[in-house]
Amino acid sequence: MRTQDGSSRGLVQALADRGIFGILIIILVGIAGYYLLPNNLALLTRITATALLVLSIDLVTGYCGVATLGHAALFGAGAYGAGIASAHFGINEPISMTLIGAAAGALAGLISGFVILRAHGLAQLVLSIAVVHLAHEAANKASGWTGGSDGLSGIAPGAIFGVFEFDLWGRTAYVYGIVLLVLVFALLKILVRSPFGMLARGVREDSLRIAAMGASAHSVQMRMYVISGIVAGIGGALSAISTQVVGLDSLSFTLSAQSLVMLVLGGVGSLYGAIIGTVVFMFFEDTVSAANPFHWLTIVGALLILVVLFAPKGLYGSAIALSSRLTRRKSA
């Protein structure tokens, strides 16, 4: 079908497959945010960091079919990794801090994958909650390293490339966040298109079938967990670098659950869905909580119910389904 429509359509399809449009949109929206909301860059950076967390959940949940309510453990590991490197070891170079965060996230992904992937279904969900609670408690007890419930302070990232200082308005942090998001998005787009990405989708749909092809579903999920840890860890590091403080909330069940909600809102199993869900949820939360500080959670809850009832595939997933139904009707 694709080839019949001529090369221009084929080119568009090829670009879409490679996520070129997604990258352009992230950059354009990023630039727009910079100029339209210059006083809100801290919020936008927080959204960017959370988007990385939601992307990382999408890798294991959307692409591999693993149910998790404990993914903040990976995000928090990245945040504390980068924060401790700066506060205790004087590693203040932001890119090094980010890499340390990524490594810490990968390690946390390895450990929690090892635990969570022992079980399936509900038991898996419960294990994931146990993991994030244990991580939370460990960080709380190790207050010498983490600052405990007071949070980890003393994080002082230096200038990026020795040139771009982290300013009071958060401009550098914001641009750095967008650059990280674009890089991660581009790499993940390659990953989900690759043979490994295809195998992962197979694991989500039918792991027994995958075994009958001679592949190990467990090993696919394990590898994906580590990759997911890297992505979440980068998000955590970005949060540590931009806010210069790491709190226990970055390792919380609440953050885990909220980011899963964002993923469902945007659409599970799509990188676009993950990002759209994060942006919509956090903007909505920010706007509604400012407008009505008492009932904002109720309104957020109502929005979720609406989406689940009327757009069960999430905002992005349902939009795609609708547009393909429309084009089919047009061609029929």
Binding site: S194, G202, E205, R209
Partner: protein, 254 residues
């Protein structure tokens, strides 16, 4: 020639009921064997024991002389023991092309690659194209599995199995659920399986069995009660009692 698959004294009981009771079976290259038996004879259990999805209480399974009794299903697959499923197990949101490409990549140990796309690998695409072509699925290559007919999905099951280049192929009711008018297409597909391959087909459909198999093994109440030519099986008294007697009912239901 040595056997490709050796099943030696397999035993499996569920709660005291011997579902597989001392079954031995050997397949040589080029064999076309049908495993038949009335409902509850233990055919599916037998398949699951051979593939490693179930652990036997006793007995061994050898592939090409190598003892695989302790191996997981995926490792047996890597040694050339491939199965198809009685109820189609395909990935609903993927295309036939993706299925066969995944199988080809997996067979070559390249399914874990994290960059590139299979469509960029000419060797893979050529093989995928030829397999889909052979089974008459080329026109459907880019449709999602949920959009294609059940009979075509059965053909795709066979395509995936072929792409894995089996040495021993276990076909679990390859024509199950396919309207009778379309079973000839499945039969044609089975005719195109490589000659040196050893095939064990489990089926109810006696027409298909008699056309396909050179040898028939009859399982009843967990034991092999007949192992011989298709011509002899209908004449065998024990088979008549155990199987063909009840086949009248099974046949009308199928």
């Amino acid at each position: 020639m040595s056997a490709l698959l050796d099943v030696i004294h397999l035993k499996k009981s569920f709660g005291g009921l011997a579902v597989t009771n001392d079954v031995s079976l050997s397949l040589a290259p080029g064999d076309r064997v049908a495993l038949i038996g009335p409902n509850g004879a233990g055919k599916t259990t037998f398949v699951n024991l051979v593939t490693g999805n179930l652990k036997p209480d006793q007995g061994r399974v050898l592939i090409g002389g190598e003892d695989v009794s302790a191996m997981k299903p995926a490792e047996r697959v890597k040694r050339g023991l491939i199965r198809s499923f009685q109820v189609t197990r395909l990935f609903q949101d993927m295309t036939p092309e993706e299925h066969v490409a995944m199988a080809v990549l997996q067979r070559d140990g390249r399914s874990g690659r994290m960059f590139g796309h299979y469509a960029g690998k000419r060797q893979v695409m050529e093989e995928v194209g030829s397999i889909l072509d052979l089974l008459g699925l080329s026109a459907l290559a880019h449709l999602k599995v949920r959009e294609i007919a059940y009979g075509q999905q059965r053909l795709l099951e066979i395509a995936v199995a072929m792409a894995l280049r089996p040495k021993v192929l276990l076909l679990d009711e390859p024509a199950a659920g396919v309207p009778h008018s379309e079973t000839t297409r499945i039969e044609k597909a089975l005719d195109m399986l490589p000659a040196e391959l050893a095939v064990l087909m489990i089926d109810h459909d006696m027409d298909l069995v008699f056309r396909f198999a050179k040898r028939v093994v009859v399982l009843a109440a967990g034991t092999v009660i007949f192992d011989g030519s298709p011509q002899a099986v209908t004449a065998d008294q024990r088979v008549r009692e155990a199987y063909l007697g009840s086949y009248g009912h099974a046949g009308s239901a199928a």
